[in-house]
């Protein structure tokens, strides 16, 4: 049986998360110290060399992103930690922040030094007021200890909008506006918060940073899949025996995740489908379970790693019922800024509802597919672009569930 590899979660259950001395005694803040002894250029090169790619879904090389901000002269720059964690089925950032908040602060401070910023924000979703409290305690302790130097961190709370996980919408929200995504380019590393160069990275991305510095880029680059090295925190939900989190190297396969770590399907039932990456992820059938979870392998089968949520469905589940719920989600969460998504998510849910109620025909499935294809190309931001993915992948792999609805 495959083994878990706890890098990010090395302190899980071992330290008191609200006692900074525990973190420091476990080797905490050594990474930051090491970073500050390096030149900014060397530091960014080291992070880039580690191959660490964003854990928030887009998979962009973190060091390379930092380089864009470093290379943009400005009187003020910002570091933003994306703790919006809106993808249904995802709770990994909460686990990191609740169990090892200092590792996130340390990662942010390293980024601050690298790009030349003295101000960080953590944008934490409104659903987690109890996490906000812990973060504030952790920040107070870090300030009192002086470990952050002149780097200041402030927590801002979201208010229940999924789209605010999108980095430019998140920036709008911190600025006090409606959380509507911006037109890009320019991208946030060059023109972000209040028009200043801004690095937005996911909680898990930042939490990886301290250990990369402590143990070196080569060490990290050697773990898991070559093109997306390191470990990934996965959260298991749905019809799986162990509904829990796991941290595994990125060359672990989906089958291992569900059956070795997840303990398989409960109640003696058979596997039917898994949706990885949250509600915007593709559905994966049995025949593709031997795919590795890394970003590129998942992309190659038309799926996504995304946030690392693993939502398992057994043979008793009706795919159309689940898709009905998912298309409702996107209709509700569309911010309305662009028409392909504002109209598209509404019509998509309407069509799925229609099919679900037994009134659909084969022609409706064709229309649904056409609408989905248009949306994935024409929508302004990732919300509308990814919204059709569950529909399109289920039409591809689970069409029988749809046709079974026809009267």
């Amino acid at each position: 049986m495959a083994e878990e590899m706890r890098i990010l979660m090395r302190n899980y259950g071992k330290i008191d998360p609200l006692n900074i001395d525990d973190y420091i005694n476990a080797g905490g803040y050594k990474g930051l110290e090491k970073a500050r002894a390096m030149s900014q250029k060397d530091l960014i090169a080291e992070v880039q060399k580690s191959g660490l790619r964003g854990r928030g879904g887009a998979g962009f090389n973190a060091g390379m992103k930092w380089g864009f901000s470093y290379n943009t002269p400005a009187d003020q720059k910002y570091v933003v930690c994306n703790a919006d964690e809106g993808e249904p089925g995802t709770y990994k950032d909460r686990l990191i922040m609740e169990n090892d908040p200092q590792s996130v602060l340390e990662g942010m401070a390293v980024c601050g030094y690298a790009i030349g910023s003295n101000k960080g924000y953590i944008y934490c979703r409104g659903e987690y007021p109890y996490v906000v409290e812990k973060l504030n305690t952790a920040i107070e302790q870090a300030k009192a200890k002086g470990v952050l130097g002149d780097f200041d961190i402030e927590v801002r709370m979201g208010a229940g909008a999924y789209v605010c996980g999108e980095e430019s919408a998140l920036i709008e929200s911190i600025e006090g506006h409606r959380g509507e995504p911006r037109f890009k380019p320019p991208f946030p590393p060059v023109t972000g918060l209040w028009g200043k160069p801004t690095i937005v990275n996911n909680v898990e991305t930042f939490a990886n940073i301290p250990l990369i510095l402590e143990k070196g880029a080569d060490w990290f680059a050697g773990i898991g899949a070559k093109s997306y090295p390191g470990t990934k925190l996965m959260t298991l939900t749905g019809d799986v025996a162990n509904r829990t989190f796991i941290e595994v190297p990125t060359d672990t396969t989906i089958r291992q995740v569900i059956f070795d770590f997840g303990g398989g399907i409960p109640g003696g039932k058979k596997f039917k489908a898994v949706q990885i990456g949250g509600t915007s992820g593709g559905f994966i059938p049995e025949s593709l379970l031997d795919t590795a979870i890394d970003f590129d392998s998942m992309g190659a089968i038309g799926a996504t790693l995304g946030s690392g949520a693993v939502f398992v469905m057994d043979e008793s589940r009706d795919v159309v019922d689940v898709i009905n719920q998912i298309t409702k989600f996107f209709e509700h969460e569309s911010c309305g800024k662009c028409s392909p998504c504002r109209e598209g998510t509404k019509r998509m849910h309407e069509m799925v509802k229609y099919i679900y109620s037994g009134r659909g025909t084969a022609a409706d499935l064709d229309l649904l597919e056409r609408l989905g294809t248009v949306m994935s190309k024409a929508c302004l931001c990732g919300l509308g672009q990814a919204a059709p993915s569950p529909v399109l992948t289920t039409l591809q792999h689970f069409k029988a569930d749809y046709t079974a609805k026809f009267n």
């Binding site: 809106g86 993808e87 979703r125 659903e127 929200s173 006090g176 298991l236 749905g238 998912i326």
Partner: protein, 148 residues
């Protein structure tokens, strides 16, 4: 009763403070009083339409009265297949209101929400953001009793 002006005014100098001010109002009242939105427009020197636009964009903000305890039921896919609909029925029956409504005594409001990040133990509801996990209809009574 706390003064809107005072609550909102405390965030006037905070960059992007409008949303922080709304959070503060909700901590005090559980909702955003209509007059407070207009007050915020003045204090932040923005058009009223914009102050309303922000307040109504976010599903956690509510302009206008609602109950003291806001019960949110997660209807995202993992909670859905775990039986969220039965929990909804049980809550509606027990409180005698439909989703989106507030009990006559002003104590409880029922709202749908999307994933609240506790999906290791579906289905999930929250009461004023405190999660209750692995719910079944027969657990509802005991939970509500904590708040009555």
């Amino acid at each position: 009763m706390a003064d809107y002006k005072e609550i909102v005014g405390a965030y006037k100098e905070v960059p992007g403070g409008l949303i922080e001010a709304y959070h503060a109002l909700q901590r005090e009242f559980n909702y955003i009083p209509e007059e407070a939105v207009e007050e915020a427009a003045q204090i932040f020197d923005i058009p009223k339409a914009k102050a309303y636009g922000v307040a109504t964009f976010y599903s956690y903000f509510k302009v206008g009265k609602r109950g003291k305890y806001i019960i949110r039921i997660c209807e995202s896919a993992p909670c859905h297949i775990a039986g969220a609909a039965q929990v909804v029925s049980a809550l509606e029956k027990e409180l005698g209101i439909k989703m989106g409504e507030t009990t006559a005594d002003g104590l409880f409001t029922l709202e749908f929400t999307e994933c609240v990040g506790q999906c290791q133990a579906t289905p999930v509801i929250t009461i004023n953001s405190k999660p209750y996990e692995d719910l079944t209809p027969d657990k509802i009574n005991a939970i509500l009793a904590e708040y009555k």
